[in-house]
């Protein structure tokens, strides 16, 4: 049984294993980085630490999002933190990045619990560009929850 934090980009619902998440905040004073790749939204100051914020929508091939009332950053745990959790037996083995990184999303949704067996492979109708980042889908009452392949999302490719 896993728990997934859900969030929205436009009208689509995405999910991320809750163990990956360090915190969710609304530090939306994001400093852009000239010449960075298009999906790099910029940098924020997270209580004295600098966090790189990705524009997840752009990464997934969607139009860039404007910051709105509901916008949030989802900050991920670092690979080191996850390895420590895994070693302590409280988490599955995950890897993100050695640096602090987060996503800008349109809105935060509920936490959804799902059995691993409920995860289905992504349906064939997602675009090629997008399928690269998808780990699977879960059917929920609120609709189709798309699970992200975090490693792929963070890869530099």
């Amino acid at each position: 049984m896993s728990q997934f934090a859900t969030f929205r980009l436009g009208d689509r619902l995405f999910g991320l294993d809750i163990m990956l998440i360090r915190e969710i905040n609304r530090i939306l004073d994001i400093t852009p980085v000239p010449h960075a790749r298009d999906h790099i939204r910029g940098l924020i100051n997270l209580r004295g630490q600098i966090v790189t914020i990705l524009d997840l929508a752009v990464r997934l091939g969607l139009p860039s999002r404007d910051v709105g009332e509901e916008s949030h950053n989802i900050i991920l745990k670092t690979t080191g933190e996850l390895a420590a959790l895994h070693a302590a037996g409280t988490s599955k083995a995950f890897a993100t990045s050695n640096d602090l990184v987060g996503f800008l999303v349109d809105a935060i949704g509920d936490v959804v619990e799902a059995d691993d067996s409920a995860i289905e492979p992504p349906s064939a109708n997602v675009s090629e560009a997008e399928s690269q980042f998808l780990a699977g889908v879960i059917k929920t009452d609120a609709g189709l929850l798309v699970l992200l392949d975090i490693k792929e999302v963070l890869s530099s490719g």
């Binding site: 000239p34 010449h35 298009d38 100051n45 209580r47 004295g48």
Partner: protein, 939 residues
């Protein structure tokens, strides 16, 4: 025994002792160099440091540590009391013992296993040489009234020294909980306090006094202190913060008498047989005895209390500092929110503004202070090398001096720590291989004492550490041969390599071997290790060497985490930090001067700054930020449509493309951040307003001149803010490829801003300095040419007269001689006149014969003859004729524009007004030629 004591006490003791040792190392070196003329203060400092280590070690029952520090103390006491002079053997023994102390501190629980027999032997030999019997003990009687023991055995020398300083001896008992912990002290703090008012002769916790575990729980563990102080008993108790009943004075009367009779230390101790140590016989009541008065007690105590110099320090976990730093950042953010939220209310609530101001300032200072805590001066690493080099040079029989510059340059703690290994490696190499023996150096006409300079400084957004020696240097030929032999490079590659590249091959992995060292006669052992270690720090190492002159190894360390002063600049709504080390100066070009100061070379804009041409880049363009300006009418930010700074002359034409496009086509307009569609192309604003703007102060140009290596360039920015100290944070892996930046930082207001990398900007903007250098050279040559032309107008002339009222000027450099001749000496042959000059008849030319001027007056007795200079066969020679003038007026340096003369004739250059007289400028050679008197000679 130590198991009774709290672990934290032991770790405190170790840390404190290490600090003591570090602090006195320079003092010991000073002792060695200072010889006899040693300051008492230095000695006292060393003595006290060793003394407190001994005290703590005794207290914590680290016998071996106590024994060695005790022996050191005894030797130091002799030096301090002037009974022993400083000599190299003594210093060797002290240094060696100090290293042993360090080794013991490194693993304190196993400190008794560290072999110290050799050091003890050396110290004992020194003591015996001075007639001091090491380890000699005296017995001191307790006094009545206290519950202290009857007698103690103490080190004879120590007691003698204490007594000779007019001290009383006390026995004090402090209970670990009641007297120490409950009063908020630590046992070490208690000891330190005791040391500040006197001398601790012995200190221990005696577990024998505790009958069993039960008793232990009830009874409270007692610390026994044997203590010498100039204070009286009641004052001593007060100073020790103990109840008077727990402090008792020992009987020193007998000892004092013996001391008076026999001042020598040995004799004092001799009659007293060693006994069993006091704590084992605590039962009998002390005998009644009167104490002896000690003079000058208060003054002495005061001096001792303030004795220790150097700022006090406290050990803090680095993790805690990092947390504090982050929390301070958070506090800053909250403060800003508070200020914003309350900004409106300032008038409603009396006094609110000053409170806010206070919070504002305190918060900033707090954050700054916390940021500084992680920084350490590089001196903490540098300062260990004089000692290492001292030891090495003694071993190697060399003379080496170490100089340290920039020890105060601060680096992040983690970098400082990681620097130790590579630096040690380089410096050992310097001493071992680079610096020659004194004989060799004399032969090479060098100072027999070799120099090693350690120099740290900030440059180009990096911390540079240069290790420079004046040793034998590295021979590139040998390095090359070695590298080829080892297959590190191919011979074909070698041909294209500069000497500098070749010597840097010593950093190649696999280059260095033990045998390579002697071959290359420089450095080279394990330099690849140095390189890999430096690179692990994100740094870079390079080497420069000149055979026979020396070698400089330069470590460039990243400014990651280093605090560096930076200039904060603004472009549009963005701010950036430029490390101040890159900033050469700031140039402000008024809107009205833009056309004159900024020009175009090879299609790129340049700033003319004094005699230099600096390439200009607009930060907004290089970074792809939309250029904006504040509309002078509405005050709103608008897109700046000008492409080039110099375009203000042609407001209409600029847009059409007479000007080439800017170096980077504004990628900011891609709208990639999704801030809506690209801004629509506005219709060009009315020309009138544009012109307004272009002479308005808002159109002044702020140019920051930056330096990268030897090149300089100007960066145009919109705003210049303050210089601020910033903490550099590294770029995450997601943005590392952005070469324009070297990191990011968090500003006081909590915002993240990027730190510009000057070198990266050059690459990004495709600046080519060579083109400009060529242009600059061209201009310099042009200037030189012009200067030459100007100089050619400058001439030194002899001003002379012919007929009265007629003035002539003849260039001095065309005159060989001026001779006075008597009219009577002039001979006539037919139409011609001659004068006898050095045995030859020299033909004379009269001006009126050649040019249309009046004849020189016939009434003169003597006239002058100008003999022009001619070149014959490449050398200067005398013309074969002279020109007659009537008088010489002046020799002048003039710069005149010659006008065509009204007078005709050969050799007239022109005329000008000199000193209010119309003067004819003559070319004497041409004149002679015109008179037909110049044959076979070139002008």
């Amino acid at each position: 025994m130590s198991s009774i004591v709290d672990e934290s006490i032991i770790s405190d003791f170790v840390a404190e002792s290490r600090e003591h040792l570090n602090r006195i190392e320079p003092d010991l070196l000073a002792m060695e160099q200072g010889g006899q003329a040693l300051s008492q203060e230095t000695l006292n400092r060393v003595f006290r440091a060793i003394h407190s280590i001994k005290g703590g070690a005794g207290f914590l029952a680290f016998e071996s540590l106590k024994g060695l520090s005790h022996a050191m103390e005894s030797v130091l006491m002799l030096v301090r009391d002037g009974k022993l002079g400083v000599n190299p053997d003594l210093m060797d023994a002290l240094f060696a013992s100090m290293d042993r102390l360090r080794a013991m501190l490194d693993d304190i629980q196993a400190s008794d296993q560290v072999p110290i027999a050799q050091e003890m032997g050396r110290l004992a030999a020194i003591l015996e040489g001075q007639g001091v019997e090491p380890g000699a003990q005296v017995t001191v009687q307790g006094r009545a009234g206290g519950d202290g023991p009857r007698a103690f055995n103490l080190d004879a020398q120590e007691v003698a020294s204490a007594l000779s300083h007019g001290m009383n001896l006390f026995h004090a008992k402090a209970f670990l909980h009641r007297d120490i912990k409950d009063k908020g002290l630590t046992p070490l703090g208690f000891l330190t306090n005791a040391l500040s008012v006197g001398q601790v002769l012995d200190a221990y916790i005696d577990p024998m006094e505790i009958a069993g575990l039960e008793a232990c729980l009830e009874q409270d563990l007692a610390v026994t202190l044997l203590f010498g102080s100039v204070l009286e008993q009641d004052l001593a108790a007060l100073a020790l913060k103990l109840p008077p009943a727990q402090v008792s004075m020992l009987d020193t009367k007998a000892l004092r008498k013996q001391m008076k009779a026999a001042p020598s230390v040995r004799e004092t101790s001799a009659p007293l047989a060693p006994e069993v140590s006091a704590p084992e016989a605590p039962a009998a009541p002390p005998e009644p005895e009167e104490g002896t008065e000690a003079p000058g007690a208060a003054a002495e105590a005061g001096r001792a209390a303030k004795g220790d110099n150097g700022p006090e320090t406290l050990r803090v976990r680095v993790g805690l500092l990092t947390d504090l730093m982050n929390q301070a950042g958070e506090l800053v953010l909250s403060r800003n929110q508070l200020l914003r939220a309350l900004a409106e209310r300032g008038r409603d609530i009396p006094g609110l503004n000053s409170i806010l101001q206070n919070i504002n300032q305190v918060t900033s200072e707090l954050q700054e202070g916390i940021m500084q805590t992680r920084m350490q001066p590089i001196g903490t690493v540098f300062n260990r090398y004089p000692r290492i080099i001292r030891d090495m040079s003694r071993q190697l029989g060399k003379q080496i001096e170490v100089q340290i510059k920039g020890a105060e340059a601060e680096l992040d703690k983690s970098i400082v720590e990681l620097l130790v290994d590579p630096l040690t490696h380089i410096i050992r190499n310097c001493a071992d291989h680079a610096i020659e023996s004194p004989e060799e150096r004399k032969k090479a006409r060098k100072n027999p004492t070799g120099q090693i300079l350690l120099h740290a400084y900030h440059q180009g957004g990096q911390v540079i550490i240069a290790i420079k020696d004046d040793g034998r240097g590295i021979d590139p030929k040998k390095v090359l041969a070695k590298a080829i032999a080892k297959g590190l490079i191919k011979e074909s590659q070698a041909r294209d390599m500069s000497e500098r590249e070749i010597v840097n091959l010593v950093f190649a992995p696999g280059f260095s071997t033990a045998e390579a060292v002697s071959d290359i006669s420089g450095r080279g052992v394990g330099m690849d290790v140095v390189r890999s270690n430096t690179e692990k720090l994100g740094g870079h190492v390079e080497l420069e060497s000149q055979v026979g002159q020396g070698t400089t190894v330069v470590l460039r360390l990243p400014l990651t985490l280093a605090i560096i002063p930076s200039m904060i600049v603004g472009v549009s709504s963005h701010r950036f930090a430029i490390p101040q080390v890159n900033v050469v100066e700031f140039v402000w070009v008024r809107a009205s001067e833009v056309a004159r100061r900024i020009e175009r070379v090879h299609g790129a804009e340049v700033l003319r700054l004094r005699d230099q041409l600096l390439p200009l880049i607009r930060l907004a363009d290089v970074l792809g930020i939309e250029r904006t300006y504040l509309d002078p009418v509405t005050g709103a930010r608008r897109e700046d449509r000008r492409r080039e700074l110099a375009d203000r002359r042609a407001p209409g034409a600029a847009e059409e493309g007479e000007a080439p496009p800017p170096p980077e086509a504004s990628p900011g307009k891609r709208g990639r951040k999704g801030k809506g569609a690209p801004p629509p192309a506005d219709p060009p604003p009315p020309v009138a307003r544009l012109q307004d703007r272009r002479t308005d102060w808002r159109s002044d140009y702020n140019i920051v001149v930056l330096r990268v290596g030897s090149n300089q360039f100007g960066v145009v920015v919109d705003e210049l803010y303050d210089i601020e100290e910033i903490v550099v944070k590294p770029l995450s892996e997601f943005i590392q490829m952005c070469k324009s930046f070297s990191g990011a930082t968090i500003m006081g207001d909590g915002r993240v801003i990027m730190i510009l990398d000057a070198g990266g900007l050059v690459t990004q903007a495709h600046l080519h300095f060579t083109d400009l250098q060529a242009e600059e050279k061209l201009r310099h040559e042009e200037e030189k040419r012009k200067a030459a032309v100007a100089a050619s107008r400058r001439r030194s002339v002899i001003v002379c007269t012919g007929a009265p009222g007629e003035y002539f000027a003849i260039p001095q450099d065309q005159i060989l001689r001026l001779e006075k001749i008597q009219i009577t000496d002039i001979q006539r042959v037919g139409d011609r006149e001659f004068v006898d000059y050095r045995g030859h008849g020299l033909p004379l030319v009269k001006l009126e014969r050649v040019i249309a001027v009046k004849p020189v007056s016939g009434g003169l007795q003597e006239v002058f003859m100008v003999i022009p200079k001619v070149i014959e066969g490449g050398s200067v020679a005398q013309a074969k004729a002279g020109i007659v003038i009537s008088d010489i007026m002046d020799a002048l340096d003039v710069e005149v524009e010659l006008e065509p003369a009204k007078v005709d004739g050969p050799g007239i250059l022109g005329s000008a007004i000199l000193q209010h007289n119309l003067t004819l400028f003559l070319d004497p050679i041409e004149m002679l030629r015109g008179a037909g008197l110049l044959q076979g000679a070139e002008a």
